[in-house]
Symmetry: C2
Subunit: 457 residues, 2 copies
């Protein structure tokens, strides 16, 4: 009797689960169809890239981006849209950079370079010195002051092509852009040239933030295109006494007022439980910031489009955030967490898209163990839309500061193969974003928010 | 005692399996590293696109492509490289097409069009007639001779954006390009204009083969860009008596001699068991055929590069085939199977890559049941390289004719989102292929051939 009872109960539970799953599956299809046939992400991205353009923190275009995304979220019907003030650094590139490799005979070969973000400039006269190539900090240390003083250090560490995840290679090679200038300054270098963080050999210099260590002099730093990094390296193997001349007129100005832009859909059952989704609104000054991170911005805003057009009402409050200043300060992300901490709400979940508008593959979560195992029950629902993995480890720069609030963090993980062809370079433009890939990313993000909102964590 | 024995046996088997898996996993890494750091696919593709160019069957460039891929496979060290003669159709486009929409006031609006492959031309005078839009064959049937005779039929069936797999939408919309002209001719239409088979709204007309039914007159057929398809459709809603004029000077010439190009690595243990891998060498005349199917060609040839550079010796014979004339005749695929049938060998497996050089997702197999279940044990080995699924249903146009020989067929399935932005259009160029995505596809193909060769089916 008892066994029969358990059997019946099991049948009932299985039936319930099955009917829930097929209900979810129908809702997933409804959301996906809406994004793919009536989405706004692509047109919003076109506007952000072509009508606003490059939008480095502190620039007039960044201000324009704030106004325009505020308007977009209003027009899509968010319940509340508001600005969250934060001060941001104001670094400017100034006149276009100039660099040449000078051989012993005085011949000059022009190189494709750009100043690293936050770098000091050389001033109008520029700097000229012997150039030495290093491939590791260990090598730099062994050269010491004797080998480095008065010279220009050329960090030539390629992104490892054998890593399947390009972000892994970026992380490894990125230390030279970040810490390289101060490490070289420690030994008396006059300046630094870093091989661009790009997956392939091409002609674009890729900028990105460098971080000075206040213990050492701030010396000027530039990035060189991968093709010219190879060229300089080959020349150095063949010739002695090669000199590098470069001129940069960049400088850091006083902080200016800027804003995060927040759009909200209020929860019907648990309005004090907040689900955050966002990308960063600022971009580097060299390009339109299409993949980095216009894509993440318009994908996040798509949540409002879907909820409002479909009439689905979230149980919990969904906040769409356009974070300011991810690229060279993270002031927006910090400000958002600071304000959140002061609010009397539960910030249960945050999702960030800042890995480009490419075809979806996975979501990465800041948590493992039982919670992740439970969340993974949702994966079969996502698989028809291209996401086949919920992996451990994830989040994002802008939502990272929410961690102390106990927020479960999640990063959208699109395919990473093409990201570093465009990242921080002049070719990060709208033309290189596929409408369908962008939309597939957007719809998977909405799907994830939908289940988190419906079922909690 | 018996239980202890079974337990020990299980441990032993598990240990064997585990050590086999980790051995395979090391070999996979070795193959992947080789392709990603020392691959030839990208440079070969550049050559095929930029030095050979568009290579429609019967053209001088198709002849050049035969010579150059023969050279490439020789240089990569294939044991044997040879040509397999086959006669191919020789369709030529002639002078650039011209089409205008003419309104009642006589105003002409130029449209972006191209002739469909295999279509007859209009002759120099062109044709001019009232244009009627239809969205289904049913609608055409209901119009009948009364509604169609003497007119130009405009098939305006968009690819369904809500299908996640774009090939599904292509299959559905493709019938109008294939059968549309003859279906319209049946009712006395003078000509046909088909909406381009493209996922998005843009300005490129996409060509592709049409297939005449000999029971009806052959009437000229063109494709119009999706943007102009939308435009014409909107105009037709607003205005009466719109006429279409178009001129095409294409024609079908007598068949010419051409070739499949075959490169072979001989098997060391079972030389009479043949594994075939290939792509098609011909392309449409409008573009470089980078994704369709330069990518499949250079990925297939990469097998030779890997086996020869790594010193791995296959147990079975591997044949790399550059199939001629997939686009408008399939003569190469048929010839290969015909020759295979006459050989005293077992054609156990064939893999085709003809879905673009995009990031890998899956392999599709012509078989299900136990065999597929067994093959799926390999999937975990592939997952780190981006392939997470072995699905039922697959193969390819060129390897299809091998089916009667009992060959297990398999199609490489990269991500399909961007394919129909470029397919059969002038922007199917080298610039739109990502080096890393192309290589990831190539390496997964080599990995699959490796396990099939090592363990059989």
């Amino acid at each position: 009797m008892r066994i029969v009872f358990i059997f019946l109960i099991s049948l009932f539970v299985a039936g319930q689960l099955h009917s829930q799953t097929s209900k979810d599956s129908l809702m997933f299809k409804r959301i996906a169809d809406l994004v793919l046939s009536n989405g706004k992400a692509y047109e919003n991205l076109r506007f952000l890239c072509k009508q606003v353009g490059p939008r480095l923190s502190g620039s007039p275009q960044a201000e324009k981006a704030v106004k325009e995304t505020l308007r977009m979220m209003k027009e899509m019907g968010a319940d509340t849209v508001y600005l969250q003030p934060c001060m941001v650094p104001h670094w400017v590139r100034g006149a276009k950079e100039n660099a040449v490799l000078v051989n012993a005979g005085g011949q000059s070969i022009p190189l494709n370079v750009c100043a690293l973000g936050n770098s000091v400039g050389t001033g109008k006269a520029g700097i000229k010195a012997e150039v030495i190539e290093v491939r590791s900090f260990k090598q730099l240390d062994s050269l010491g002051e004797k080998g480095v003083k008065g010279k220009i250090v050329f960090y030539n560490f390629p992104m490892n092509p054998t890593y399947i995840e390009t972000f892994r290679a970026y992380g490894e090679a990125g230390q030279f852009r970040g810490r390289g200038p101060s490490m070289a300054a420690k030994y008396g270098a006059l300046g630094v040239m870093v091989r661009s963080l790009a997956s392939n050999i091409d002609d674009f210099p890729h900028t990105g933030a460098t971080t000075y260590n206040d213990s050492f002099p701030k010396i000027p730093a530039i990035a060189v295109s991968t093709r010219h990094a190879e060229y300089v390296s080959n020349e150095l193997k063949k010739k002695n006494g090669l000199q590098l001349y470069f001129r940069t007129e960049c400088e850091m100005l006083p902080d200016v007022q800027s804003y995060n832009v927040v759009g909200e859909i209020r929860g019907t059952e648990f309005p004090d439980e907040v689900i955050t989704v966002g990308g960063h609104l600022d971009s580097w000054d060299l390009a339109e910031g299409a993949h980095d991170d216009g894509a993440g911005c318009v994908q996040s805003m798509e949540v409002i489009n879907v909820y409002k057009k479909s009439g689905i009402k979230p149980k919990r409050t969904i906040r769409v955030v356009m974070f300011m200043n991810e690229e060279n300060g993270l002031r927006g992300g910090r400000k958002y967490a600071e304000v959140a901490k002061a609010e009397n709400k539960k910030f249960i979940f945050a999702l960030e898209s800042d890995a480009g508008g490419f075809t979806p593959r996975a979501f990465g979560f800041s948590i493992g163990g039982d919670t992740l195992t439970r969340l993974r029950n949702w994966v079969p629902l996502f698989k028809p839309y291209g996401v086949y993995e919920f992996s451990e480890g994830g989040g994002g720069a802008d939502i990272g500061p929410l961690r102390p609030l106990g927020t479960l963090l999640c990063g959208f993980r699109p395919d990473s193969q093409r990201y570093f062809d465009h990242h921080h370079a002049a070719n990060d433009t709208f033309e290189w974003v596929s409408k369908r890939e962008l939309e597939l990313g957007a719809l998977n993000m909405v799907l994830l928010l939908y289940v988190v909102d419906q079922y909690g964590l």
